[in-house]
Subunit: 633 residues, 2 copies
């Protein structure tokens, strides 16, 4: 490491040496022995140097297993088979290989989308449509001598040119390629990142860190005006658990690790982080830290800011990190909070110490049906007030309940129509519930078996006060299982002229009902105004509860047949929806972040002085805008 | 408000107006009615505009009820009466008016401090020893027209020239007055603060915000090199609860409110914040936010960063605040964390929205005796691992156990000597425990009665696994009661040649025992080296537990008879103790903060890049160093 960019490093070494000599004063050593203290001797007993498993989700050439123009694994997708039935292909998911009998009718009824009206996506990337890379020769020369793997291959570059906003995927399906990175590099460790950042600063190359590539805020889009060479810094090969500390229940992990790998590896030792964002199959630790991620089971494990103990980030000014792994400090403003939420604009997060917990003894799903959404929200609010929320509790509105039904796989040989199945469900279980008003909450409890059963009783008792009826574990479990396949559904939609997106907010309790009603209504109105031919799907779900409010998640999709510029219509409606959210007291984002998509509202969100503070940090840390994604500000 | 310093204000008004018009679109209004929407109509139902009680702890002229050269209320102090017994004067505390029979012997045995050797503190401030105020005439002229109360009275200025570090109080007792503020101002509300900050910027006056005055980091000391007029901005009269929102369980409060007033006022409505720092009788909400305060019952209510929903701060660049009261957001780096920990260097915090909770139904104290400190720490670690910590759990070492005994008030007519009482305690209860090794944990449970009793059983069962024996509610309750009188004890010590201080750290679990042993031993060694005649009191307590570590609190005091420069000796020993803490993996501070006292370690604590970030924020927000306390950086 050249000393000019890592001055902090040698300060830190001197401080560490000084500390070792202070502690050495206490150790009784037999005369004649070597008095030098090795760092390893100071390591906490109970630390396990972790041998990383070979198996990792994300290979360097991601396109070998993942779609280049859609969500997730190439082998997994929704299709209509020859009989006109919806199927989910592949072998990776519980739903894989199954027929979903209700989906076709649901799509037809909800969107007016029929099998006759099919779009064609560009099946494979046409390399000639990709601009040749604008390589910075001096940078490349020095990079070669570092030994860090790199590529200027068109497929590698295009793969990392986007996240998963609708407009990004739509453009790829049309074969439209905008500004893409000129090169991809794959650092293997923190020191590789230090070298790359140093070289980028030296040769004025634009760096865009790339973790899981799951951004839905246009954060990964390459700014079209960027004239310097853009290098995508892919962290996926920097993915080891460096150590597990069983005494302190922490793990020190390289930031390129993907969520599912992190949990699987920790599980091997009987631990977990419990951080399970819906994107966890593909998203990375560094990405979570950079975007202030939230996980499904945050009620037990906390959000990312509750999980991290120590962060290391490489910036143009050098490495930033605290010297201590204490659980909570008062040492001025918390610099971790300058890093969390910086969305790739300040540097590359390389290593993180996270809290871990023993894998819970017992897990139990559940579900509750409420007569209407208002009662459901009131129940969730009371559960939050009593501070007895399960690991996860989510309340979907009536449309999502119906949607969930449509996704039920066929498990018997008798073909049941969507409506028949629904009717049957009502008659046998929920006499008196209005099928067009009822909604469902899905629950997940985990922990010691005895405590879980007690907890479960407490929650169901509260639900009963709001007219809620227990609807069984299966419905709960299925709700959570669907979480990971929902994202694949958009690709199916786009095959049949349906486009859509999810977006989210956090809002105080007393605004939850208003925001749900007003935003959904606004979406419907705007679609009508903009000439959308069929009424849109406009639906919401309360996905997280807090003391002072909740997270609300919206799905919005419509059939764009007959529209000249469907993406433009979509963007206008989404924009209006966000205006409506803000007007109703909701936040700009609960966990997706700002990226470029929501920059325009940053000033009113944090005030001019807040913008000034963020800008001043950026100007200091990265005066030449090496980390030039142009997110946030 | 002049627009140049509060540009954000009119942006915010425009944004709010826009939002009201968006929401207005949904309201059905009978024709002919006024379509203007009043802000009040948009207020959440269930908000109670709060009528502030007249009674507040802190009057403008604090010296009317508080000591000018010691801790707390003037009417409350430890003294030795004519019979040579220790008494606690006044009527405010449970201990008030009581004899403490064991204290004299304990002081004699611990410090070699006898009644014969008494110091004399300067009884009253000699105004002639106070430099005349260096008033900025132009500032004063404009200030007068604002109507904000002010004073250049020597007593008012001296009162606000210090916190409660040893060297500050020692100097006052010797009648030594250093640099003091030139004026004191008492804003009544946020708008007053805006005016004051504006004028200070215009006339280049140094502002030092003053909340409770309880800083123990030299944060309130006026920099001697400061040549501009220094104005102490006393927030104590800006102390109302502006509203309580029962739907969202939040309260919007002016930042000058003192802890005990906040809780008492909220209690009147059946609520509390539950934030109970040991300083809560005198410390302020603004001070807590500025220093990242921690409260005794953080296990239930959280630390300050968990309690705040919204913060408003007035800076030279204008007002900084978020636009939303959502419970948790991803909108870039969290600007609240630029404010929390800024220790008065960026502006004045004026209003805070905090979470509130219903006052718990039931409270129960408890205590556990352990055979030794190691077992006690192991128990606390296990309680943390199981995530079943009570509202409060604290483990004191053997010396503090003995100290606690010495503070037992006389409740019967039979005079029991300190040692007799101790022996009696052992023989009747804890046969087999070594009196020189045993230690005590004090516990506080609160919540629903049924849950509390269940919880209590769980914790005592864990304690039993580590050789712990329940020692009754009384011992627990007394331990917590003593919390608020301990600070008065230092003044008694200083009357008899004993000086001392507390300091704290946070540390990972696997370092707790090492840090306790090594720091206490280091203190003893350093005192010996520096010529302290009698062995010092060097004792510690684990006061908070977290998933990944604990907060450890040290008391250190010694008899300084025979030393030429006792404060200098004290400072050298404290410095060495902090070096020892850092060398053993402890943090620079868990909750006291950095101030000026611990600035020298900031670079190694947050790294050079971290310092650069903090400096860049300071340079942007306050380029002329109006908030010139020189804390942190």
């Amino acid at each position: 490491m050249a000393s000019n960019s890592c001055g902090g490093g040698s300060d830190r070494q001197m401080a560490a040496q000084h500390r070792l000599s202070v502690i050495a004063g206490h150790l009784q050593r037999p005369s004649g022995s070597n008095t030098a203290i090795l760092a390893a001797e100071c390591k906490a007993q109970g630390s396990k140097p972790f041998v990383s498993s070979e198996r990792r989700t994300v290979p360097r050439r991601r396109q070998e297993i993942m779609k280049w123009n859609g969500w997730g694994y190439s082998d997994s997708k929704f299709v209509y088979n020859k009989k006109g039935q919806a199927e989910f292909t592949g072998k990776r998911y519980k739903l894989s290989g199954m027929i979903i009998p209700g989906l076709k009718d649901w799509m037809e009824n909800t969107f007016g989308a029929t099998l006759q009206h099919k779009t064609t996506a560009t099946p494979a990337l046409n390399s000639t449509s990709v601009p040749p890379p604008a390589l910075n020769e001096a940078f490349m020369e020095e990079l070669k001598s570092t030994g860090v793997p790199f590529s200027a291959d068109a497929e590698d570059r295009v793969f990392r040119a986007h996240g998963h906003c609708l407009h990004e995927i739509f453009a790829l399906r049309e074969g439209k390629i905008g500004r893409v990175p000129d090169m991809v590099v794959w650092p293997n460790c923190h020191n590789d990142v230090v070298k790359i950042v140093e070289l980028a600063c030296k040769h004025n190359v634009c760096l865009i860190p790339y973790g899981g590539g799951t951004s839905v805020s246009s954060a990964l889009e390459c700014p079209p005006e960027e004239s310097r060479s853009i290098v995508s810094l892919d962290t996926s090969q920097m993915n080891r658990i460096l150590w597990i500390d069983e005494k302190n229940l922490t793990a020190h992990v390289e930031a390129g690790i993907i969520g599912q790998d992190l949990e699987n590896l920790l599980n091997e030792s009987g631990y977990c982080t419990g951080h399970e964002p819906d994107s966890m199959e593909f998203s990375s630790l560094g990405g979570w830290v950079a975007t202030r991620a939230s996980g499904m089971k945050k009620n037990i494990y906390g959000n990312i800011e509750d999980l991290v103990i120590h962060i290391k980030m490489v910036t143009p000014q050098g490495v930033i990190e605290k010297s201590c792994q204490g659980p909570r400090m008062s040492t001025g403003p918390d610099i971790h909070h300058f890093i969390m939420g910086s969305e790739g604009t300040l540097g590359v997060i390389t290593e993180v110490t996270m809290k871990i917990r023993p894998v819970p003894e017992y897990q139990k799903y559940g579900s509750v049906v409420f007569p209407n959404f208002e009662q459901g929200v009131a129940c969730l609010r009371e559960v939050a007030r009593q501070r007895c929320a399960p690991a996860s509790i989510r309340l979907m509105d009536n449309e999502q309940f119906k949607f969930g039904h449509a996704l039920k796989p066929q498990v018997s040989s008798i073909f049941t129509s969507f409506l028949d199945g629904l009717k049957k469900f009502y008659i046998t279980k929920f006499k008196g519930f209005d099928p067009n008003r009822l909604c469902v909450a899905t629950l997940l409890f985990e922990g010691d078996r005895e405590k879980v059963l007690q907890h479960e009783k407490q929650v169901y008792d509260i639900a009963a006060k709001f007219g809620g009826l227990a609807a069984g574990e299966d419905n709960g479990q299925r709700g959570y299982m669907l979480t990971f396949v929902i994202a694949y559904l958009r690709d199916l939609g786009m095959d049949y002229f349906v486009i859509g997106e999810s977006f989210e907010t956090s809002v105080p309790w007393d605004r939850v009902l208003d925001i749900c009603r007003n935003v959904k209504a606004r979406i419907v109105r705007e679609c009508k105004d903009k000439g959308v031919q069929f009424p849109p799907l406009s639906t919401c779900r309360v996905t997280q509860t807090y003391d002072a409010g909740a997270c609300v998640y919206f799905y919005f999709a419509f059939n764009y047949r007959g529209l000249g510029d469907p993406v433009h219509v979509y963007e206008q409606v989404e924009h209006a929806a966000r205006e409506e959210i803000l007007a109703n007291g909701g936040s700009l984002s609960h966990h997706h972040g700002v990226g470029k998509l929501r920059k325009e509202w940053m000033r009113e969100t944090v005030s001019s002085v807040g913008i000034g503070m963020l800008q001043s940090v950026k100007d200091y840390v990265d005066p030449n805008n090496i980390f030039g994604s142009r997110n946030l500000l």
